[in-house]
Symmetry: C3
Subunit: 200 residues, 3 copies
């Protein structure tokens, strides 16, 4: 579907911008920034494709993704003030991206004949693993392990999607509802500083 493809590209672009920002904070050069943008944007889908055996992995087969990601570096650099003012919009697209990547990854895993529980995990991997690699390459403990309930939103969103599908809701409304749920959870989490308690 064209809208989904457009949203997928938009999510990829926003992820790439967030990678570029992290890289700039670490004073990487433009090449390093492009690498961090790339792994942030496609890292999750890549790990999912590798694990379920869907190779060559997705972004190798459609050069538009690579193009957008490389473009994100100069765009971020030239428009940094503008981007910083756009934080709210960025956050929205980032969250839409997360929701979309979760459901798309979940669906792809089901299509590969794997179980629903595994599909939820793979959907979440698709959405959050890019950020984990980004933080690891930048030599920081991945944010996701400590603060936001980021992944919890993906897991519950994925579960909701499967539930709706099992109740015979069609793919499109189920997906929209699940993505909306992810956005809601994440927004509430950020606004009210929800977080899971640390262990020990």
């Amino acid at each position: 579907m064209d809208l989904i493809y457009a949203l997928d590209l938009a999510g990829t672009f926003v992820f790439a911008i967030s990678g570029t920002i992290t890289a700039a904070e670490k004073r990487f050069d433009p090449f390093g920034a492009a690498v961090i943008a790339l792994v942030t944007a496609v890292g999750g889908g890549t790990l999912r494709d590798l694990l379920i055996g869907a190779t060559p992995v997705g972004w190798l087969k459609d050069t538009n993704y690579l193009l957008l990601i490389v473009l994100a570096v100069p765009v971020t650099w030239l428009m940094k003030k503008f981007i910083l003012r756009l934080r709210r919009t960025m956050f929205l697209f980032d969250t839409i991206g997360i929701g979309l990547f979760t459901i798309m990854g979940l669906q792809k895993t089901l299509d590969a004949g794997l179980s629903p529980a595994i599909a939820i995990v793979m959907g979440t991997v698709s959405a959050v693993f890019g950020g984990v690699v980004r933080d690891t390459l930048c030599n920081e403990i991945p944010l996701i392990f400590r603060r936001e309930i980021y992944a919890t939103a993906c897991l519950t969103g994925g579960g909701l999607y499967l539930l709706l599908r099992q109740m015979s809701v069609n793919h499109d409304p189920a997906m929209v509802t699940a993505i909306g749920f992810v956005i809601l959870i994440r927004s509430l989490a950020v606004r009210y500083h929800w977080s899971l308690p640390a262990l020990k």
Copy 2:
């Protein structure tokens, strides 16, 4: 074989507990702990399966592994005192797991038509790589590169297994002997503080 499957699950569970303990020391939240438990438990087998091209990787195809790993987090949290007192038993299962994962990984690599030398390396990867990823994600230099002769035990145990097999010993006694050998080496290494000398 049922005993092997049971030992495999037990080894997976103990690896997951060790991952949870590491995550708790770093004050990760329960989700982060589950991720660390997962990579510790299945990271080695996953890398092996990816490298030899056996996808979807093993744990995606049998949800029991995922279930046990997720269970390890609350179990560790609720029973931490008990688990700390069980250190000796934990160490035993951990070492059985290492031996078992080595031989199973080795066998799977041979079955994929690769050479014995490569099979020994892949067996060792199966057993130790999960710990390497765990330490990397927790932002520490992997323990294995500096202290225990952990991997040496796997490599020699794998070699012993191949030797016995070549001498026409059947699979089961060869495996039991090799696992016993891994346990022996590792126990002696820990008791007598064996370690390889550092380079330079």
Copy 3:
């Protein structure tokens, strides 16, 4: 071709030595050093093979690579003074290796039916990713993200190769020219301290 195979092995050996040197600086034991030597030498090709779906990955199918890599640890240890005096020769082989790995990786990606832009990226991944993993495992921010214009040399060298091929230059002269170009760029970059400016 025999010369290419010989150069490939030589490049692998030099990469393994550079990995061993890094590991020794971190005071790893010989096993840890062998692991770092391995990932430095074959990490790039491994990631490329995984991403394009060419499994089992290359070095699993030809034990010579593993043999040479394991050999690099004692060789480096025994001949460290000699190797340090050979820095110039090492640098040359390292750079030849980078150029060669770039073009070989690019070609393998094209052979898998992927686009030229992706092939250039995969060629560069083949050449530089081993060093990224080495640095990550040693708990350092990968050098490549901050200093040398290492990867830029690979990207432009790969682009030159494709350009020459499109102009109907044969494979061999195009490859030699591209590798020569990579060597030239990298040597100039080191001599004149070229580097990309940091972002922000």
